[in-house]
């Protein structure tokens, strides 16, 4: 799984990025994959600390897509993951979170502060591009499949390679839910934690929790 960030604001431009990334990273042809797109129902929470108390930023928008090889069925009721060979799955995943969609909801002005800290005008999206995903085995039937996901995370225009555990499960015949959590440091992405004199100082450490819902057309099943 990856959180993919569009570096251009327009949809057209992001399609261009999508295409370029696909050329570079695609490991399977389109004919061999099932294409899943983002669906309503996703959510992400960034949790941080400060000298006052902890804070959160929430969003219900995670965009992007996931291409899964034909034959890979995330049927968590079964112990085995059909289609997975050698633990690795040649998936192509790009996910993105619009920075402006992250909302604090408690402190007036916090949204604007965080958008400036992440230079949202220049880098309006948080992006994740998957490079490798490996199934953790054994899998207990009835629980989501667990993976280690590696990829590039782009925040504030700064790219860092990260690894994080994610789970994938089917939530309907045509929908998957990808769940993950990753501790990060803002300064690793050149995001300066907000400081307001001696009143408020945000800590460097943050954690991203996400639930990403993706779906495929029913007819493509």
């Amino acid at each position: 799984m990856k959180m993919n960030k569009k570096t251009f604001p327009s949809r057209l431009a992001s399609l261009g990025v999508f295409g370029a990334a696909a050329l570079a990273a695609l490991t399977t042809s389109a004919a061999d994959t099932v294409h899943y797109k983002s669906r309503v129902g996703s959510k992400v929470t960034i949790t941080g600390t400060s000298t006052i108390h902890n804070w959160t930023m929430d969003s219900q928008i995670i965009g992007g897509s996931m291409d899964v090889p034909v034959g890979v069925e995330f049927d968590q009721t079964k112990a085995a993951l059909n289609g997975a060979t050698g633990g690795k799955i040649p998936m192509r995943v790009e996910a993105n979170i619009p920075v402006a969609s992250l909302k604090n909801g408690h402190w007036e002005g916090m949204d604007e502060v965080m958008q400036q800290a992440m230079h949202a005008a220049e880098h309006p999206q948080i992006v994740f591009r998957l490079s490798e995903i490996t199934l953790k085995e054994p899998h207990a039937a009835g629980t989501p499949f667990q993976f280690d996901a590696k990829g590039d995370l782009v925040v504030n225009g700064v790219t860092n390679a990260i690894t994080m555990p994610v789970s994938i499960e089917s939530v309907s015949p045509v929908k998957l839910k990808v769940v993950g959590k990753k501790p990060l440091k803002m300064t690793d992405f050149k995001v300066q934690p907000p400081v307001k004199a001696s009143v408020f100082k945000a800590g460097d450490d943050i954690t991203i929790d996400f639930e990403w819902v993706v779906g495929r057309p029913a007819a493509a099943k």
Binding site: R39, K103, D111, E112, V113, Q116, A197
Partner: protein
Amino acid sequence: MQEQENNSSPTGFNRRDFISNAASFSALMALMGGVPLHAEVATNAPAGAPSTGYSTVSAPLNFGVIGCGPWGREVLQTLALLPNAPVVAVCDSYEPMLRRATAAAPKAQSFTDYSQLLASKDVQGVVVATPTHLHREIVEAALAAGKHVYCEAPLANTAEDARAIARAAKAAVKVNFQAGLQMRSDPQRHFLLPFIRSGAAGTNVMARSQWHKKESWRRPASNPERELAVNWRLNSATSLGLIGENVIHQLDMIRWLANTKPVAVSGWGSILGWKDGRDVADTIQAVFEFPDGFNYSADASLANSFDSSYEILYGTFSAVMMRVTVEDGSKAWLFKEVDSPLLGWEVYARKEQFYKETGIALIANASKLPPAPKPGEPRPPQPTPLQHSLANFISNSGIVGKGIEDFIANYGADDLDGMREYITGPTITSSRRSAAGWQEGLEATLTVIQANDAIRKGHGHRVVFEKGSLEL
């Protein structure tokens, strides 16, 4: 995150300064034993303390102002005070008004036809400041054109028009609609809200408000056509009178703070000071009945200005007085009963800023006081409720506009139910700044329309708010 910079010393406001300013209303209230209640979030930050300097100002919103009479020009002057409110278009059907508006917003395009203003792609949001009875057509067209809409209160002068506006605003999921009940955006009143609703002032006993101003409301008109246009407030066919144009804000505050809705209203109205052919009362009184025996009496007059305007909410433990003045902005004072318990309200008040005499200012949080003006120096201008309201309109319009843009970019434009759920869901809703929406605007408007009916019948005529009569 609203923060008021403060580099004052702990004794920044001393008794001498207090006495020198005793002519001010706040000082007078302090002398009477009132404890001023401030909303500003204080800081103890020493001067020069490090800061990342991030701004809390929202992204700009390009404004079009429709209706450039005196209130429209007040809106223009207020927008000019905001750092993110460029006015790109103004509209008035009367050329002289338009010229005066253009002087206030020299970079704005001017239009005599509002539909041309709405066709401008430069305009992102509009303020509808026309006479009340002209709101509906303009608001509906603006929403249909995809503009964010700030509609002055009351929404309309008829229930039919008010409901039509509310329906259009409710349906327009892609834009932000705000009713011009500006006190709903006032941080001072938001500071009072938990204070009062928590019962710190005791059980609500009654409420009272007044709006007094010696002025005729009459404006010069060069011909009968202009007479109807500019003196619409004096004509009962187009005006809800004082209850609609002024008391509506006080009524809305009492309802909101007391967290209750009226069940009936009785009214009185007379023309006593300005017998110039008008058929709208220049002096009114109304008593609103709420459940559990709690009543609110409102009086308003154009014939006497004594003591200006304010609202008082009386509780069994204390009374809270609220008023807006030019020198102090929005402010409130607490007057406690001698037998009131030393509980939350007093502790709460002591933790807030005080702009009062030394005895109070020297308590633990005295360093939170804002800088006091030197003797003879003017007080810095305070943001008005309208300024707060328009600032919140800008922020909320940006949240809705960007939210829709993000939603469509990632989930497509076809899922209208999902879009509505997202925009009205907890993440977006909790991030919106305080403002009256279509529902608050509709309830207040329908209330004053029926109150005006009672006033026009007079002699204490009582109107019962039937079930559903204040709803869409």
